[in-house]
């Protein structure tokens, strides 16, 4: 793989430009003193300052974090259990394959269809309880439903690398079910569980459509707020907010990478 033809760098550069130039343009506009961004009128942190004073943005940020934290916590536990239940039990091949396909459903379903399915599901559940009316509860449940699959896949990939003899050895060395879980299974899975949790958190922040389809009054998240405000026209505050969110993603990706490194050591 050492000697690539020179021309390969052209599409590579173009692709990276496709990915980053728009984001950079937003970042530049977020520190441009010009309100309408038609020309460069000097550097300012002004728009960032306004961001923190903005009530609607504050509320949306709170919702975003609330949804991300709760859904991540729940989906990490459920996803880890799901991976264990799928991988550590001698299911007959057919059952295992069916479960495996079901697990991949949220991963492979396009967002919009996933969201439409949620609308239908909550439409039915709403008949039973007002808890499922548009708002934070269905939004959080919707997030969990797709996060759980990702967490389970990450954890299961780790489980697959652990030799079964480790568990047999633990039994052979007098470990009961609990001791085995707390002293062997969980410590060995921890990097993957943490990685899955970070991924789930990122996915929750990244989501727009599922939140958009399940939101009610007062439960808008940051992406929904941005989407709504775009209809009223561009504003530098939105640029500032978006830049901060991209930076948050960068931080999370770096966190996952760090975890990957530690996993390699053990």
């Amino acid at each position: 793989m050492k000697n690539l033809p020179r021309w390969v760098y052209v599409p590579v550069l173009f692709a990276l430009a496709l990915l980053y130039v728009p984001l950079l343009a937003v970042a530049v506009q977020s520190v441009n003193a010009s309100r309408f961004g038609t020309s460069w009128q000097g550097f300012t942190w002004n728009w960032y300052g306004r961001l923190f004073a903005h009530e609607a943005i504050g509320a949306a940020a709170k919702n975003t974090l609330l949804v991300a934290c709760i859904s991540t916590a729940v989906s990490t536990v459920l996803g880890t259990c799901l991976a264990l239940g799928l991988d550590r039990i001698p299911w007959p091949g057919r059952v295992r394959r069916a479960l495996d396909i079901l697990l991949h459903l949220p991963v492979i379903t396009p967002d919009i269809l996933f969201a439409a399915a949620l609308v239908v599901a909550f439409g039915v559940l709403r008949q039973a309880s007002s808890l499922f009316d548009p708002g934070l509860v269905p939004m959080i449940l919707g997030h969990i439903a797709f996060q759980v699959a990702f967490v389970a896949l990450v954890v299961r990939a780790r489980l697959a690398t652990l030799e079964p003899e480790l568990f047999e050895a633990a039994r052979d060395l007098y470990a009961g079910k609990r001791y085995l879980f707390w002293h062997v299974t969980l410590p060995l899975l921890l990097p993957a569980v943490a990685g899955g949790a970070l991924l789930a958190f990122t996915l929750s922040l990244d989501d727009f459509i599922i939140s958009f389809f399940t939101t009610g009054s007062g439960s808008d998240t940051l992406p929904i707020y941005i989407y709504g405000s775009l209809r009223r026209g561009l504003s530098p505050e939105i640029h500032a907010l978006s830049t901060l969110m991209v930076l948050a993603t960068v931080a999370l990706v770096l966190g996952v990478e760090r975890l990957n490194r530690t996993r390699e050591v053990t």
């Binding site: 030799e163 003899e165 480790l166 047999e168 050895a169 633990a170 039994r171 052979d172 060395l173 007098y174 470990a175 009961g176 001791y179 002293h183 062997v184 410590p187 060995l188 050591v265 053990t266």
Partner: protein, 346 residues
């Protein structure tokens, strides 16, 4: 000092995986303090038998008892039996000392005792300096010693070893075999080793059980099994052997080499005679007595401490300390001493 531990009895153990009979009624016993080796080719069921004793596999029928106590009724974590796994299965997230302490802590043994026993075990296997290392930083030989310490620290009645040398290189293996033998003598516990390596079996064992297709083909002290293989399989699997097809005629046998007279009369009319290469006697002149034939030296291979000779009749192989001037192509006389010429069971 009487050997610690209790006697292991395995009776008529059977195991089937799908359509394959892995174990077809295996019976064996091990007195306390013996080094027992299950020797056989892969797929003969030796590892399955070991796993059944450890509680990592279920037997279809039969019994396994330890000092009269039924083992099969207990789950693995309640059996006074510990295993050294083929790939060692050290816990990668625990240090050497914590790996060794695992079995003690899992039984909630007071931490003071744990510390003492762990340091004794580390001492025994010369692992003291590695106590705080993680398994990923150990060499193959070190890993193996940790696995041994981790099992022995629990003072099991039986120590099971599943091909523990297969992950080591050939040079280290010979050394470790000796150490293992010494270790077993020193602590006097029962070791049950599974291997497909005949040298290893001969080196370490008090008793060898040669297994084939789920049955025990022959059991006995290493020298007995080697010197008196009962079947063709044992003769070929354990050491080199000259096998000679024969038809019985009275007390003697008719073979492609001519008329041969084994010391013991065979029980069959058509069968196989066997003689180890080092038992063949070569000479330039016709020797006294029966069982002598003339042959050509077809190939001579120099092996340092001995020479290996391929003779021009029936693929006969001989091994001699030196050839005293005999060279390839020479005509020699070969004697097959009756005492070493064995009739194999059909």
């Amino acid at each position: 000092m009487g050997a610690p531990g209790r006697a292991l009895e395995v009776r008529e153990v059977r195991k089937r995986f799908g359509a394959v009979d892995v174990l077809r009624g295996v019976t064996l016993s091990a007195d306390p303090g013996t080094f027992l080796t299950l020797l056989g080719p892969s797929g003969c069921g030796k590892t399955t038998l070991l796993r059944i004793v450890a509680g990592l596999e279920l037997a279809d029928s039969g019994s396994v008892t330890l000092g009269g106590e039924d083992l099969l009724a207990k789950p693995a974590q309640q059996r006074p039996v510990n295993t050294v796994f083929q790939q060692y299965a050290l816990f990668p997230h625990l240090t050497v000392a914590d790996n060794v302490a695992f079995g003690l802590r899992a039984r909630r043994i007071p931490e003071a005792d744990v510390a003492r026993k762990v340091s004794e075990a580390l001492e025994l296997l010369q692992l003291g300096e590695l106590a705080v290392r993680l398994p990923a930083k150990l060499s193959g030989g070190q890993k193996q010693r940790v696995a041994l310490a981790r099992a022995l620290v629990n003072e099991p009645d039986i120590l099971l070893l599943d091909e523990p040398m297969s992950a080591l290189d050939a040079k280290l293996r010979a050394q470790v075999q000796l150490e293992l033998r010494r270790l077993q003598r020193r602590i006097g516990r029962t070791f049950v080793l599974v291997t497909h390596d005949q040298d290893e079996a001969l080196t370490v064992s008090d008793r060898i059980l040669v297994m084939r297709e789920g049955c025990i083909e022959q059991a006995g002290a290493p020298e007995d099994v080697y010197a008196r293989p009962r079947t063709r399989f044992v003769a070929e699997f354990l050491g080199a052997a000259n096998l000679i097809e024969a038809t019985r005629d009275g007390d003697a046998c008719e073979t492609a080499l001519g008329r041969l007279e084994p010391a013991e009369k065979p029980g069959w009319t058509r069968g196989c005679l066997c003689i180890r290469p080092e038992k063949l006697e070569l000479s330039a002149t016709r020797p006294e007595g029966a069982n002598a034939i003339e042959a050509t030296l077809e190939e001579v291979v120099y092996r340092g401490d001995h020479v290996e000779v391929f003779l021009g009749v029936s693929g006969l192989r001989a091994r001699a300390p030196a050839l005293n001037g005999l060279a390839r192509g020479a005509r020699v006389w070969v004697r097959l001493p009756a005492a070493h010429l064995m009739a194999l069971e059909a």
